[in-house]
Symmetry: C2
Subunit: 311 residues, 2 copies
């Protein structure tokens, strides 16, 4: 199918809500940033065989691509504005896959107010490769950053971690569990914590989304803030009966990990109630640089047991 | 090489000029759009074997990726603001290629004030695939669009077209010419017509860059403007002794094709002088929808002779 037809049939309808997309027919799209706001821009690429399984339903591939980018906006406390798609496909790739992918992407974009406003397609690559750039806005100076954690701040994580990692284990056949289907759904259709991120503006001192893994992303906050973080292993919220070390080292959960001063505990408790989302205090910002995960006795667990922590 | 090292070593230096890039270490980048301006966003992807030859120097691949995106900003009359890179590479891809690619990209970004401010890398794809999202700004309501051509406007093209197509012929061994090296350089390092695009705000009624080919891109203006365009073949500026039909159907020139009312002829002549860039009047906007290319006798040349015109 010709590139033009593919765009007109499956992607132009997603752009119809945004006049500045110019029907995906111009050289570029036009967008307005409200006065007093900054622009927040993120870009994530995923490739078949690297980030998802060839047998993953195309709709969930589209949904996940949108969700992981919107999750980066959530981690900055931003409101989505628009997204731009790069779609590289092998020749003769089934149009039904493209239709399902576009539907999955479009559903998530519509749910979070992040319309597709442009992009590019390539026909003739060896394996599908998908790139999304997401734009958001945040009131000037209020973006959540990784680098703001202060000594004696509390450290929190939203929801629970480890389900995406357990889904991978289940999909690879290494474990079986009655909760498997829920975990796989969670892995394939992560929920960006957009309302939480926006509510944390002026509350959290630093924030990141859990993409590499709770421990790795908490460590990124510690490094960027030039502080240390102590996490209590027993506080890490993970599915009942599963290993909290595995949960903290697995990635792809797209929860938010953040720090906040103790004066915000009441606010964060109220926020958790109003969002219907658990916000668990898992640790503390310390003076000694780096990340430590403490066992029940308060002793640091050796890094080797925590698995490889990406930078 | 680990993703983090790759970014730190070759791409973080390109982002050092832009504080909002946050050292490429946060979830997203922060940018300001000046008051009274709109944001212009474009995204182009290129793949080895589809858009460039494996033997093309990596520096020119980076330079071209930046230039084709900045050309889209030029076609809208925008000033570049920042760009975001998606870099998909096979495992064990030579680091020297990455270093050269980053240098080529960075040189063009620096020349046109379009700093790299973020992106993503994937390791383990079958063939290199590169995606760039470029952001620019334009005074509110002044963006050049494809859809503004008016009946009896003149149609112009900048510079000359066909050199990139001739370069491809030469690289494939189909022709030899003493100008070959210049053409190949032109093909590999296109020059975005940024100063021209910005100067055409308030002067041109419609504008596009010549990426698919002069005739195809002029036809896009006609379609978007719901008018017709007649182009005089003998007026098409192409290298001496080469075929103007081939020049008008080949793509990748990255000149600007634009329409303007006859009242702007003097302004456009002066602009051509001040930019040191030829701006050739090649045709006229008419009432009859579609694109026609006229021979010396004023008769339309059959479409088959013009080659396939992409939409």
């Amino acid at each position: 199918m010709a590139e033009f037809e593919l765009i007109a049939r499956h992607f132009a309808p997603l752009a119809a809500v945004a006049p500045g997309a110019l029907g995906l027919k111009d050289d570029a799209a036009l967008l307005s940033v409200p006065p007093g706001h900054e622009l927040v821009v993120t870009k994530d690429m995923i490739a078949q065989g690297v980030h998802y399984y060839p047998e993953d339903p195309a709709a969930t591939v589209g949904a996940k691509l949108a969700a992981v980018n919107i999750s980066d906006l959530a981690a900055m406390g931003a409101q989505p504005l628009a997204c731009f798609l790069g779609l590289g496909l092998p020749s003769d790739w089934p149009e039904t896959w493209v239709a399902d992918f576009a539907r999955g992407l479009g559903d998530v974009c519509a749910r979070y107010g992040c319309p597709l406003m442009g992009g590019d397609t390539i026909n003739g690559v060896a394996e599908p490769i998908l790139s999304l750039t997401a734009l958001g806005v945040v009131p000037l100076g209020q973006a959540l950053r990784r680098g703001g954690a202060q000594l004696r701040d509390d450290v929190y994580v939203s929801g629970q971690v480890g389900e995406a990692g357990l889904a991978l284990q289940a999909l690879e056949g290494f474990l079986d569990d009655p909760r498997k289907a829920d975990w796989v759904e969670r892995y394939r259709r992560p929920v960006p914590r957009l309302a939480l991120g926006q509510a944390l503006r002026g509350v959290a001192s630093a924030c990141a989304d859990v993409s590499d893994g709770l421990f790795a992303d908490a460590r990124n906050i510690a490094l960027a803030s030039q502080v240390g973080i102590d996490i209590e292993l027993k506080a890490v919220p993970c599915p009942n009966g599963t290993d909290p070390i595995a949960a903290g080292t697995a990635g792809d959960d797209y929860e938010l990990v953040f720090s906040a001063p103790p004066s915000q505990r009441e606010t964060i408790f109220t926020l958790s109630q109003s969002l219907g989302l658990s916000l668990t205090r898992i640790g503390l910002v310390t003076a000694e640089p780096g990340l430590r995960v403490l066992d029940r006795g308060g002793k640091p667990i050796k890094l080797a047991q925590l698995g490889y922590i990406h930078r």
